[in-house]
């Protein structure tokens, strides 16, 4: 009787204490939970089966895990105002159980839900409230200078925690199988450690970052791993299957006798303990966890893409960075000119350049331009439409006028499909400056223009044969047109439209007769190519 009064008084006092902290909670903008979180907590705790709580606490399960496993609604114990110590004392108060003096990490969640971990400097961190963790994250986001309009929170934890939990649950089901509360609380799936942590951190994070959690390209990731150094396990159940784990994840146990829970481990040896307690005792695979998990906070943006078409006005600029023996070929590259102008505007870490095909260093890319995709890694800022237009003007206004850009815009991941679309059917248009070994006749101009959809056979050109398979490729020349050059009888411009993958230079000079037919063979003389320009890359979607 007096006990009850006592506990009522104590809990009243606690309520008072919590009411004042509640005031602090109220001023915390954005927390629109139930008016009396502390009351809800107390009610919830009182409704728990006390002996179970005692049992769990005695094998080193932390307060949040106790509440979680016994099916308490997460919003009750995840409130940002509830500190570790508060939750612990509420449970202890109600159940009359005193935990050991030395602080231990939870045998189920390994400290994750106790907001305890080792950081990247190996310092032990024990946070009191989810707010504190949210603060660390917000600081990191600010330090990196990310501009965000949303975030996606991810948590990854060692597999071991799930295995721990699963073995504990099976043990509990066995031990308490006849009890009434089991049906309601335990047999429904309990909320996972990950979800609880995410839930606890999300609201305060939304407030601090002034934005909502959503499916966003900006990712915040809490990566927990567990290294070695488990405490000495006092008892080992013979019922467990023994299995050694690899050392990769650090989930290894120093003791050779260590065991990993697996699905067969619900066989608790009842022999030795039954005599003492009358029923099987509760076990977790690892008790006395002396080391918490290692936590790494990561925040990054997934790739963003910019697409457009580029033009290359120079015959001394390669498409991508080309370096042989530490010497650069050509004076610049399209990739670097475009990438170096866009990357700083996105404040990204790195860029990757992808283009729909390519042209030789000495071939200009004119006309409509060639479609390209620029991938920016971990952009701190997604450029606005205006900024993108500015970038385009800037590149087009560069003094050396080596490269130009058209239709620059930010695009989603569908940019890839746009690039690959119709790759095989892609037609390209060229203009070649050709010289032949005899004067050009009107008949030549005529006969060339009559050749439509002409099939040619090209053996792998000698200039690329060292790194390509020796093959014979069928290609189609869709149409050709000769444009005479005034004051020259042997030079002319050849306009032609061909299938993607056709080697134009070899089509003109014949490549030792390995491309058949060639301009030379068609006109019955020797033909040479002096210059080549790409005048159109036909692609609708870009």
């Amino acid at each position: 009787m007096s006990n009850e009064v006592e506990s009522a008084q104590v809990s009243d006092a606690m309520e008072v204490a919590q009411l004042s902290s509640l005031a602090a909670v109220d001023s915390h903008a954005g927390s629109c939970e139930a008016e009396m979180p502390s009351r809800l907590l107390n009610d919830a705790v009182r409704s728990l089966p006390y002996h179970v709580v005692k049992d769990l606490l005695s094998i080193g399960v932390c307060s949040r895990c106790v509440l979680r496993i016994l099916g308490t609604e997460d919003h009750i114990y995840c409130h940002s105002s509830f500190s570790q110590s508060m939750l612990c004392s509420v449970l202890e108060e109600v159940t009359g159980f005193k935990s050991e003096c030395d602080f231990q990490f939870c045998s189920v969640c390994l400290g994750v839900l106790q907001l305890s971990y080792r950081d990247d400097k190996e310092t032990l961190v024990k946070m009191e409230s989810p707010n504190d963790m949210a603060l660390v994250i917000a600081e990191l986001v600010k330090k990196e200078g990310h501009q965000i309009d949303g975030f996606s929170l991810e948590v990854s934890i060692p597999q071991f925690i799930l295995e721990n939990e699963s073995s504990l649950l099976s043990g509990m089901k066995k031990r308490y199988e006849s009890e009434p509360w089991l049906q309601e609380r335990l047999l429904s799936k309990c909320v996972s450690v990950k979800d609880v942590l995410k839930f606890a951190i999300t609201k305060p994070l939304e407030t601090l970052l002034d934005t909502k959690a959503s499916a966003s390209s900006f990712r915040i990731r809490l990566a927990y791993t567990h290294k070695m150094a488990f405490g000495n396990s006092v008892e080992r159940n013979q019922g467990f299957k023994r299995r050694k784990i690899g050392t990769e994840n650090g989930l290894q146990n120093v003791n050779d006798e260590s065991v990993v829970a697996n699905k067969d481990c619900s066989d608790y040896p009842t022999n030795e303990t039954i005599a003492v307690t009358g029923r099987s005792s509760l076990k977790v695979p690892i008790d006395k966890v002396s080391e918490p998990c290692h936590l790494v906070y990561l925040c990054y943006r997934t790739h963003i893409y910019l697409c457009g078409r580029y033009l290359k006005y120079s015959r001394n600029v390669s498409q991508t960075r080309w370096i042989i023996d530490e010497e650069r070929m050509g004076e610049a590259s399209v990739e670097e000119i475009i990438g170096s102008n866009i990357l700083p505007m996105c404040r990204g870490d790195n860029y990757k350049f992808h283009a729909a095909g390519r042209e030789d260093i000495d071939v200009r890319m004119l006309g409509s331009g060639r479609p390209f995709l620029l991938e920016i890694q971990n952009a701190r800022q997604v450029p606005s439409e205006e900024t993108v237009k500015e970038i385009e003007s800037k590149i087009n206004g560069l003094e050396n006028k080596l490269v130009g850009v058209k239709n620059l815009q930010v695009v989603g991941s569908q940019g890839w499909t746009l690039m690959r679309e119709g790759e095989a059917e892609k037609q390209k248009q060229y203009c070649a400056l050709v010289w032949i070994s005899r004067p050009l006749e009107d008949e030549d101009v005529c006969s060339i223009s009559l050749l439509n959809d002409m099939q040619i056979l090209q053996k792998t050109p000698i200039r690329v044969l060292h790194r390509r398979s020796p093959l014979e490729r069928k290609k189609i020349i869709y149409w050709m047109k000769i444009e005479r050059i005034a004051e020259s009888s042997q030079y002319f411009l050849l306009h032609l439209c061909t299938q993607a993958g056709t080697y134009i230079k070899e089509f003109v000079h014949g490549d030792f007769g390995r491309t058949q037919p060639s301009i030379g063979s068609i006109l019955g003389c020797r033909a040479e190519i002096l210059q080549l320009d790409v005048t159109d890359v036909k692609m609708d979607s870009f």
């Binding site: 260093i361 000495d362 006028k401 000698i462 690329v464 014949g510 030792f512 210059q531 320009d533």
Partner: protein
């Protein structure tokens, strides 16, 4: 036109970009729909200006693709007097071998009648090299026979001249041996060989440059 090196004709042509590229963009914004066609025509014109070369800057006879992209070497009297062969080496290391114009076979009246690749242990025209690594290519020494060139009165063995992997033989010569007469230095090539860098350096020492060869054979 150069495959690898900077195009020397670059300086022949104006690479000036139309300065009105930016003005063009403004035009696009301001003007209404019907001048889209005008714009397209304007762009075509500008493009055309870039394409047309300055004829005064072009040489009368430009260097051929072979001259520009290959380094020419010669092996006079290879293994036998009169057996003059050429080795054209591309910057990527591949060598095209064939009969030099001074080869004895060309002096034969009646001309070349047949080319037979079935010499040595195998028919060279039958082999198939596949893949980027060209693993199943046969490795030949510089004196390995490639083919037999037959004239009315005589036959001549053509050899590799370069130690390396045989990538390809010119099968067209089987049906069209006259290619050797019309252009032995192009369509009439004999084979393509890929030497290892070390092997090339060794054989290079024994080959003559075009200048040296011309002097030797007293060609103009």
């Amino acid at each position: 036109m150069s495959d690898v090196r900077v195009d020397h004709t670059q300086k022949l042509e104006e690479t000036a970009v139309p300065n009105n590229l930016e003005q063009q963009d403004k035009q696009d914004e301001e003007q209404p729909q019907q001048s889209v066609q005008e714009n397209a025509e304007y762009e075509d014109e500008e493009l055309h200006k870039l394409l047309v070369p300055d004829i005064t800057q072009l040489p009368l006879i430009p260097p051929s693709a072979v001259e520009f992209n290959f380094a020419s070497y010669f092996a006079p009297d290879f293994m036998k007097p009169g057996n003059d062969q050429y080795v054209y080496r591309h910057a990527n290391g591949l060598c095209v071998v064939g009969l030099a114009s001074t080869h004895l076979a060309f002096k034969d009246k009646g001309g070349i009648t047949a080319v037979d690749f079935n010499v040595g242990k195998s028919d060279r025209s039958g082999m198939k090299v596949t893949g980027k690594r060209k693993k199943n290519a046969q490795h030949f020494e510089s004196n390995t026979a490639l083919c037999k060139v037959c004239t009315n009165g005589d036959s001549y063995i053509v050899r590799c001249c370069v130690k390396g992997s045989l990538l390809e033989v010119n099968e067209r010569l089987i049906k069209q041996p006259e290619l050797l007469h019309s252009s032995a230095d192009r369509e009439g090539y004999i084979a393509i060989i890929m030497p290892k860098p070390a092997d090339w350096l060794k054989v290079k020492a024994s080959l003559l440059s075009l200048e040296e060869f011309k002097k030797l054979r007293a060609l103009c």
